[in-house]
C-alpha cells in the first residue's frame, strides 16, 4: 500500500543524493480557525458563522470552536504561535467587516501558523442585504486557497417541492437559505435543468395534462414551450453552449432522443428503435450524449456521437442503470440497481470500473456540483423524501434538512460568479 522509492546514487564525493518520494496523502480535514478582526460586530459574527458552516459542510475543513482556543487574537500581531501549534491548527482566517449604508466590505486574510505569517489576502464587496451571499464568496475563496478548485458555497440549488396539492419549483442557496419560488403549479413539475449561463432553466410541466418541456428566463419569468405535441416531451438537457436542448419524446411512436436548436427550432432525431430511449445528458465538449435505453431488455447507459450517430453501450454490471451524467470527460455518475436497492454509482469510462457511492437505499436524481467534487441526490426514508449528498474527495456524506414533506429533483447551478 505505501510504496517506498528511495533512489541512492553515489558520486565520487561519497555524498549520496537521497530522494524520498511521497505518494499518498492523509484524507483528513484542514484545521482552521475563523476570527473577526478588531471590531466585534453583529454582522461580523453572522458572517463568521456562515463561513464556518459552509466550510464544515464540505467535510474537508475542521473549524475549531472559539471555546477551544487558548488565546483569541484580534489581529495577526497578537497571534501566539505556541497556542495554535498545540491545537494543531493549520491557519487562522481573519475576517474584517466594514459596513456602510450601501456597501458591505469584507476583507479576509489567511494566516499560516507554522509559517507565522499571512499567506493570502482577499476582499469581497457587496450590498448589505446580500450578506449571506457575500459570506459564501468568502468561504469559496478560502476553499480555493487550500484545495485549488472552486468552492461551491456560493452556488444555487434548484428543486421541486410538493405540499398538499401544490407543486413548486424553487431555487435556494447551496445551504438551503434564501428560497425563491420560480414556478407554482397544481400539476407535477419534473426534470428541472439549468442552462450553463444560469440565466435560464428548462423543466417538464404537466399543467396541460401531459408532459411538456418549457424554458423559463429566471429574471423575467418569461416561458416558452419548446415544441408542441400531443405526445409527451420530457427530459430536457442543455448543450454546453446553451444553443441546443436534447430531450426525449414519444411523438414518433415510442420514447426517442432528439436535439432541438433553440433558435432555428430544427430537430435532429438521434435514436430510432422500439425501445425506450430517454434521459439524455451532454458530454463536456458537447460532442456526445449519454442516455438510458432498454433496448437490451433492461435500462442501461449508452453513448452516442451527436454528429456520426454511432452508439456504444457503457454499462454492463447490474440490471438497471439510468439517469447518467458526466462527472468529467472520463467518468459518469448514474443510478444503479443491483438486486433490489437503487444507489448512486460512478463509472470510469476507461477502466469500466463501477463504484457505488451511497449507502442509502432508494436513491434517484443525482446531480453534480459545478466543481465536480460533490454529488447531491434525492432519497426516501419511509414517507419522507429529502436531499442527501457525498463529497467525492473527502468521502464525507451529508443530509440537507428536510424542510418539506417532499423535496426532490435537485439540480445544481453552474458557477454564477
Amino acid at each position: 500500500m505505501k510504496k517506498i522509492l528511495a533512489l541512492i546514487v553515489f558520486s565520487l564525493n561519497f555524498h549520496a543524493d537521497l530522494v524520498l518520494e511521497i505518494t499518498e496523502s492523509a484524507s483528513k480535514p484542514i484545521k482552521i480557525a475563523i476570527l473577526e478582526k478588531n471590531n466585534n460586530s453583529l454582522a461580523g459574527q453572522e458572517i463568521v458563522e456562515i463561513v464556518r458552516n459552509d466550510l464544515t459542510r464540505t467535510g474537508e475543513f475542521e473549524v475549531i470552536a472559539n471555546d477551544e482556543l487558548l488565546s483569541i487574537p484580534t489581529n495577526e500581531d497578537e497571534v501566539i504561535q505556541r497556542d495554535w501549534l498545540l491545537l494543531d491548527v493549520d491557519s487562522i482566517v481573519f475576517v474584517d467587516v466594514q459596513i456602510e449604508e450601501n456597501n458591505l466590505d469584507i476583507s479576509y486574510s489567511i494566516f499560516d501558523i507554522s509559517y507565522n505569517d499571512t499567506e493570502d489576502k482577499r476582499r469581497v464587496l457587496g450590498l448589505p442585504d446580500s450578506l449571506r451571499q457575500s459570506s459564501h464568496y468568502v468561504s469559496d475563496g478560502i476553499y480555493k486557497f487550500f484545495y485549488g478548485i472552486e468552492g461551491i458555497s456560493s452556488t444555487k440549488l434548484m428543486y421541486v417541492t410538493k405540499t398538499s396539492n401544490t407543486h413548486k419549483l424553487i431555487i435556494s442557496d447551496a445551504d438551503g437559505f434564501n428560497e425563491q419560488v420560480l414556478l407554482k403549479s397544481n400539476s407535477s413539475i419534473i426534470s428541472p435543468a439549468w442552462s450553463n449561463d444560469a440565466e435560464q432553466i428548462a423543466y417538464v410541466s404537466f399543467e396541460n395534462n401531459r408532459a411538456q418541456v418549457f424554458t423559463q428566463n429566471l429574471a423575467s419569468g418569461q416561458r416558452e414551450l419548446i415544441i408542441s405535441s400531443k405526445s409527451s416531451v420530457s427530459s430536457p438537457a442543455w448543450s454546453p453552449n446553451n444553443k441546443e436542448l436534447a430531450f426525449a419524446s414519444t411523438k414518433d411512436g415510442n420514447s426517442e432522443i432528439y436535439v432541438i436548436n433553440l433558435k432555428t427550432k430544427k430537430i435532429n432525431r438521434l435514436t430510432e428503435n422500439l425501445a425506450i430511449d430517454t434521459e439524455p445528458a451532454w458530454s463536456p465538449d458537447g460532442k456526445k450524449i449519454i442516455f438510458t435505453s432498454d433496448r437490451s431488455g433492461s435500462p442501461q447507459i449508452y453513448e452516442i456521437d451527436v454528429r456520426t450517430k454511432l452508439k456504444r453501450r457503457l454499462t454492463t454490471i447490474g440490471n438497471y442503470n439510468a439517469r447518467a451524467s458526466y462527472l468529467n470527460k472520463s467518468e459518469i455518475i448514474l443510478v444503479h440497481r443491483n438486486q433490489a436497492d437503487f444507489n448512486i454509482a460512478s463509472l470510469n469510462l476507461k477502466s469500466r470500473e463501477l463504484s457505488v457511492l451511497t449507502s442509502t437505499k432508494n436513491d434517484e436524481s443525482p446531480c453534480i456540483a459545478p466543481n465536480g467534487n460533490v454529488i447531491i441526490y434525492s432519497t426516501k426514508d419511509g414517507n419522507l423524501s429529502y436531499l442527501a449528498g457525498v463529497n467525492i474527495s473527502s468521502k464525507v456524506s451529508f443530509k440537507l434538512p428536510a424542510l418539506y414533506g417532499e423535496l426532490k429533483e435537485p439540480a445544481w447551478s453552474p458557477f454564477i460568479r
Binding site: R122, L125, Q133, K184, N209, G221, T292
Partner: protein, 165 residues
C-alpha cells in the same frame, strides 16, 4: 441607479487597493410564475385533454414490476371495453399510464406511457379505431398510495381508463 453608484464606488475601491484581489458579489434576480392564480391556456391552441371531472376510472389495469405487458387477469376487462367501443364509435377512451416510485422519474414516465400504449395496442388489435383512443403517461407523479411498500407499489403500477366525449 443605486447599483451604478455602487459599481463606481467599487471600481474606485479596486483601484485604490489594487494588490488585494477583490470580488464583487452578484445577486440573482428571479420572477415567480404562478400557474395556480390564473388558468393558463395552451400556448398553441392544440387540443388540450381536459380532464374536467372525469370522475373515477372506468377500469384500472394493473401491471407487474418493470413490466408493460398486459396480465391475463386484465384481458376480460379489456374485451368488455373493446365491445363497448365497437358498439358505439362516439366513445373516446383516455388511457392514463402510471408507474411506482422506484427507479428514475423519466424512465418511469416512458414506462408508464408504454403501459398505456399496451392497452391501446390491444384494443386496436381487437378492431377499435386508434382515433378513439388517447394515451398519456404520468410516470410516478400521481400515485394512488404514496407509501413505500409493495402493497402501495402494486396499486400504483396501473393504467386508468376513462371514457370521455
Amino acid at each position: 441607479m443605486k447599483n451604478i453608484l455602487i459599481s463606481i464606488l467599487s471600481i474606485f475601491f479596486i483601484f485604490a487597493c489594487s494588490s488585494t484581489p477583490v470580488e464583487k458579489v452578484d445577486v440573482q434576480e428571479t420572477t415567480t410564475v404562478d400557474l395556480t392564480a390564473t388558468k393558463q391556456k395552451d400556448t398553441d391552441n392544440e387540443v388540450v385533454m381536459n380532464n374536467v371531472d372525469v370522475g373515477e376510472a372506468y377500469v384500472t389495469i394493473l401491471f407487474d414490476y418493470d413490466d408493460d405487458t398486459l396480465r391475463e387477469d386484465s384481458l376480460e376487462d379489456l374485451f368488455a371495453i373493446s365491445r363497448l367501443m365497437k358498439a358505439d364509435s362516439m366513445y373516446t377512451l383516455l388511457v392514463e399510464g402510471h408507474a411506482d416510485e422506484r427507479g428514475t422519474r423519466e424512465y418511469n414516465l416512458a414506462l408508464s406511457e408504454r403501459r398505456a400504449k399496451a392497452v391501446e395496442d390491444f384494443l386496436t388489435a381487437t378492431g377499435v379505431s386508434s382515433f378513439n383512443i388517447e394515451v398519456v403517461g404520468y410516470g410516478e407523479e400521481v400515485p394512488v398510495d404514496s407509501s413505500s411498500n409493495e402493497d402501495a407499489w402494486s396499486k400504483n403500477r396501473r393504467a386508468e381508463l376513462f371514457f370521455i366525449k
